[in-house]
């Protein structure tokens, strides 16, 4: 690879520096993202929580369901607090009202938050992109009807909708399925595809006018191919950014619903994959705020951390994928 150095003078510019190997858009964006310290930190935190979620059963020091009647509300070893109960070194964050280890429960809670963050987002992106593309590309009456539907859904106070759905359908078959997680996914997806659909529709409308689409149409490329090969890849940037901001929103929603007692039902069955959620833990902690504040504090810190991490990652992604937008928002 090494070429011969200029012999006569150093002033001659090495052509390699001027014509560096071309990078694809993705590589370009990735190198910009890596340079952003905040988003790298965000990535690490997200990765850490994904790791916790997957390997919860290996990492957690105790069984999150093991009851200890004699060890209720043990304070953590580093903060004795106001209670006279003596802490135990093997319960790092103390125990809850039934003597269960808080740290283990918090680690298991990461599972619910991660799956609630990622799975409905996948559905939302799929549905939103499809409808947005159809609406923007076909236009006319189809567009009108679809956009009026999104208007109505937009007007619905979304948190209230989730609450109503969770309260009303909790005892039906779908509400019982996987401790109510499936119902939660459905409710989240029904409301949130609207934003993605509007975003994609806007993208399609502007891309449709571009020369390369016109050129493709001139040489007789089919509509579906134009949509998937020309328009979709060009709207991928905003889509990825919106996904990065969608995920923390869903995690917060799950925590709020859990905190109100209408989210995932905490399980007592050790064969279940999803034992408890951070929201449900906070609900438990609310009653013992003086005796054992860490039951409330630990999941709250986790929610704050993961949400901040996703926000920094999203900011970094937006700057990386669309450098012109940098610093404007």
């Amino acid at each position: 690879m090494t070429t011969s150095q200029p012999v006569a003078t150093n002033k001659i510019v090495d052509l390699k520096d001027v014509f560096r190997p071309s990078k694809s858009l993705g590589q370009e964006a990735w190198s910009r993202l890596i340079r952003n310290k905040a988003s790298v930190a965000g990535m690490f935190i997200v990765g850490f929580f994904i790791f916790l979620a997957i390997f919860a059963s290996v990492i957690s020091p105790k069984d999150p369901l093991a009851l200890n009647a004699g060890k209720r509300f043990l304070p953590p070893p580093f903060d004795q607090g106001i209670t006279n109960i003596k802490s135990e070194p093997d319960h790092l964050l103390g125990t809850d009202s039934l003597g269960r280890d808080v740290l283990s429960r918090v680690i298991y809670g990461a599972r619910v938050s991660m799956v609630v963050g990622f799975l409905p987002t996948a559905i939302i992106l799929l549905v939103g992109t499809t409808i947005g593309m159809i609406s923007g590309y076909i236009g006319g009456r189809v567009d009108n009807v679809l956009m009026r539907i999104t208007d109505v859904i937009y007007a619905f106070p979304d948190l209230l909708f989730f609450i109503i759905v969770m309260v009303a359908l909790r005892d039906t078959f779908i509400g019982q399925f996987m401790n109510g997680l499936v119902l939660l996914f459905a409710a989240l997806a029904i409301v949130n595809w609207v934003g993605v659909a509007r975003l994609i529709r806007g993208q399609v409308l502007s891309l449709k006018q571009k020369e390369f689409v016109e050129a493709a149409r001139c040489i007789g490329v089919k509509d579906t191919r134009i949509m998937f090969r020309h328009i979709l890849p060009n709207s991928l940037g905003p889509l990825i950014v919106s996904a990065a901001f969608q995920i923390p929103g869903l995690i917060i929603t799950e925590a709020i619903l859990g905190y109100l007692g209408v989210g995932l039902r905490p399980s007592t069955d050790s064969t279940d994959f999803f034992i408890t959620s951070w929201g449900a833990l906070m609900l438990d902690g609310q009653t013992a705020i003086n005796a054992q504040p860490y039951l409330l504090l630990a999941p709250a810190i986790c929610v704050a951390l993961i949400v901040l991490a996703f926000t920094f990652l999203g900011d970094g992604l937006r700057d990386a994928l669309d450098p012109r937008m940098r610093g404007t928002q």
Partner: protein, 333 residues
């Protein structure tokens, strides 16, 4: 302009009807009658349940019930015509016997002013939080923009980003634990909300996110204006810096900020139910959460409709306010 306004106002009707229809269908599809708190067991005997159902019109077909809810219907027991949602009647509460939903939400207790109703409490808290957001958020945004890429700017940006992303109830948990449980500076449980000092905590928690958002929006709008030609012209004329910032820059930079105020207020009023519950604040949001716990379907529905109306009106207000404060925008027919 007028036709646009009228069209937008009429558009509210189908939106509200759809919202109430969806809520209605979901609530009615819940297993178990509204009288059973536990759907596994019946707490009310069959005869009572039947006469209760007849009294509230629940024995009629679904569409008829919905029609009665929105338009009105004749009560089969008292034979009196009861007007529905159209007349502002949200129906009787299923749990608080003898009280209607609008009574619970909007009527103040005996001898108190209207502001002491649940709705009044929520609106007051929302307005206070909004004022805090505006009067602290905008100056922070201005200073951060004027000192762009300095230490001050970075601190402001970090605060704004964390303020936007950390949800208010998590912030509430931190503050309650630090100032309530650890330092004992504030009371965790407040009985008497007539004293204003108790309002500060929920106000700060509720308004913090909006404040951060306002600061960030002001900053970005100011940065955009900063490089405009007319600002350079103003400086070249030798105007005082204060005049340039306040008269030339701020006046234009605040346009996007003003437009978010309507939705922000709606968001603060509707989004406060978690904060109200945490601080046991006697507002509309807490009534809603209690209604969920008690399965008071009509109260849940009524509150949802009120919230939806607030959100719809707030969103409408953006478009209208925009036209008035920014002459560059013309509404297309």
């Amino acid at each position: 302009m007028t036709t646009y306004l009228i069209r937008r106002l009429f558009w509210l009707i189908p939106v509200l009807i759809t919202v109430s229809a969806v809520t209605f269908i979901i609530m009615r599809s819940a297993p178990g009658g509204p009288w059973d708190t536990d759907p596994e067991r019946r707490q009310v005997d069959a005869a009572t349940a039947k006469s209760l159902a007849a009294f509230y019109g629940l024995d009629k077909p679904m569409w008829r019930q919905f029609y009665a809810y929105v338009i009105g219907d004749t009560n089969s027991q008292t034979h009196k015509y009861v007007c529905g949602l159209l007349c502002g009647n949200l129906g009787p509460s299923y749990r608080q016997r003898g009280r209607t939903v609008q009574d619970i939400l909007f009527a103040a207790p005996e001898g108190k002013t209207r502001w002491q109703s649940r709705f009044g409490y929520s609106v007051r808290l929302g307005v206070m939080a909004l004022l805090m957001a505006v009067f602290i958020g905008i100056p922070i945004g201005i200073i951060a923009a004027l000192k762009q890429n300095t230490f001050v700017d970075y601190i402001a940006l970090f605060l704004a980003t964390s303020g936007i992303s950390v949800p208010s109830f998590v912030l509430a948990i931190f503050l309650i634990i630090i100032f309530g449980a650890k330092l004992h500076w504030i009371d965790i449980i407040v009985d008497d909300w007539s004293e204003i000092r108790y309002w500060f905590m929920p106000m700060i928690v509720l308004g913090f996110g909006t404040m951060a958002f306002t600061a960030r929006l002001t900053r970005s709008a100011m940065l955009e204006v900063l490089r405009q030609d007319y600002v350079r012209t103003a400086r070249a004329k030798g105007l005082a810096e204060r005049v340039v910032v306040l008269r030339h820059m701020l006046k234009n930079a605040l346009i996007p900020v003003i437009t978010i105020l309507g939705p922000a207020l709606a968001g603060l009023v509707t989004g406060s139910f978690i904060i109200e519950t945490m601080f046991s604040f006697p507002g509309m949001g807490r009534a809603y959460v209690q209604a969920i716990g008690q399965r008071d379907y009509s109260l849940i529905m009524g509150t949802t409709v009120v919230y939806a109306l607030l959100v719809a009106v707030a969103n409408l207000s953006v478009d209208i306010v925009y036209v008035f404060i920014d002459p560059r925008i013309r509404l297309e027919e």
